[in-house]
């Protein structure tokens, strides 16, 4: 079980190099990070997993991008859209994580999408960025979405991931701090541990998706 930050943006998108992010992630208690536009590597014992973050494209285009990235070891993350889009993406094999649920519409991720995500082992990401950097309505909306998400998670048990979505080392938080932040919407220590191991869960599922039955 690897403790993973499901999304960081290293330089040039952010102000920290991927090596520095890995160093800081190590001190924060992580085993691996998913970094955008970075080749797979291991820095100071931290596995850097390449990630593809898809935003603002149609479900058909998502499928095309997933086909291209098949077998490359990248984590495919798609930003949530409207209800139909989320259902389609959650059911697409090869999509690992559905992100930005906090920014989506209130009814965008419902019980049907949750069931599809659980059946397809597609994780839903809990982005800590709005909790750390947001103030007022932006943060209140995120907490409300995550409270709703936790209700669906307890019912359907789809995987969760936790990401900081940081562009700087100053945005990384320790595992203890993440546990505290997640307690704001009712996650306990066990839930947080499971969610931090969510990336390894969804990528391992992909490896063992085909089983030979004799």
């Amino acid at each position: 079980m690897k403790i993973t930050d499901a999304c960081v943006y290293p330089y040039p998108a952010g102000d920290s190099s991927v090596r520095r992010l890995a160093l800081e992630a190590h001190t924060c208690g992580f085993d691996s990070i998913v970094a955008a536009d970075t080749p797979a590597t291991c820095i100071n014992g931290i596995d850097v997993i390449p990630g593809i973050f898809l935003t603002g494209i149609s479900a058909r285009e998502v499928q095309a991008r997933v086909k291209k990235s098949k077998g490359t070891g990248t984590v495919v993350c798609v930003s949530a859209g409207d209800n139909g889009f989320n259902r389609a993406v959650a059911g697409t094999t090869g999509v690992h994580v559905l992100r930005d649920v906090s920014c989506a519409d209130k009814k965008a991720f419902d019980h049907v999408a949750a069931k599809i995500a659980a059946d397809n082992t597609t994780a839903v990401d809990i982005d800590l960025f709005p909790l750390i950097f947001g103030r007022g309505h932006f943060r209140q909306k995120a907490i409300h979405r995550y409270l709703d998400l936790m209700v669906l998670h307890r019912r359907f048990e789809f995987p969760l991931t936790i990401s900081s979505s940081t562009r700087s080392v100053l945005g990384l938080r320790t595992v203890r701090e993440i546990t505290g932040l997640c307690s704001l919407f009712g996650m306990d220590e066990t839930d947080v541990e499971k969610a931090l191991a969510g990336v390894s869960q969804v990528t391992a599922f992909e490896d063992t998706a085909v089983k030979v039955i004799q």
């Binding site: 090596r19 160093l23 007022g136 100053l170 505290g180």
Partner: protein, 173 residues
């Protein structure tokens, strides 16, 4: 007003936090405003009044903060939402919680100041652009982009930096 006897005083807890990035050294008053804003925006005025957050001292890279006993978990959550101190990006890393300031000062003494390396070469570059080293501790290097505008602080490691020699410059000296 006479001082209350110890049994009637409010019990308090003290938190030791490291202020990142190194070398920021914020003013205690500015840090107090940042902490108070963090607590109030997350928990509201009622909880902030019950929590009684305060900044006792800023000693080098470390800050000693105070709250009411029992409010430490909430206070720690609020501290993790602090991102700026007077428009300067900062992060507070909580290192210890104690019942006395003295034990935290002992802890600071055992940890010591953040060890800094000496800048050996005069000029460095990163991603083919010249940079100026502002902090160098262990493998971690904080640099400033050189230029007239849009200079930002970059967080790198020693492996990311390249030393500019005369031979590496196209029209070298």
């Amino acid at each position: 007003m006479s001082v209350r006897p110890p049994t009637l005083r409010e019990k308090r807890r003290y938190l030791l936090a490291r202020v990142d990035p190194a070398g920021t050294n914020p003013d205690p008053k500015d840090l107090y405003y940042a902490v108070y804003e963090g607590v109030v925006s997350l928990f509201g005025d009622m909880s902030a009044a019950a929590m009684q957050p305060s900044v006792i001292a800023v000693e080098g890279e470390y800050a000693i903060l105070r709250c009411r006993r029992g409010a430490e978990p909430g206070f720690a959550i609020a501290l993790s939402t602090i991102t700026t101190c007077r428009d300067i990006p900062v992060a507070l890393r909580i290192l210890a919680v104690s019942g006395t300031i003295e034990s935290l000062r002992e802890r600071i003494a055992t940890q010591g100041p953040v060890p800094k390396n000496e800048v050996t070469a005069t000029s460095y570059q990163f991603d083919a652009a010249p940079v100026e080293v502002v902090q160098w501790y262990g493998h971690k290097v904080d640099v400033l982009e050189k230029g007239f505008k849009n200079t930002r602080r970059l967080f790198l490691t020693t492996e990311d930096l390249e030393i500019i020699h005369a031979t590496t410059i196209s029209d070298g000296l």
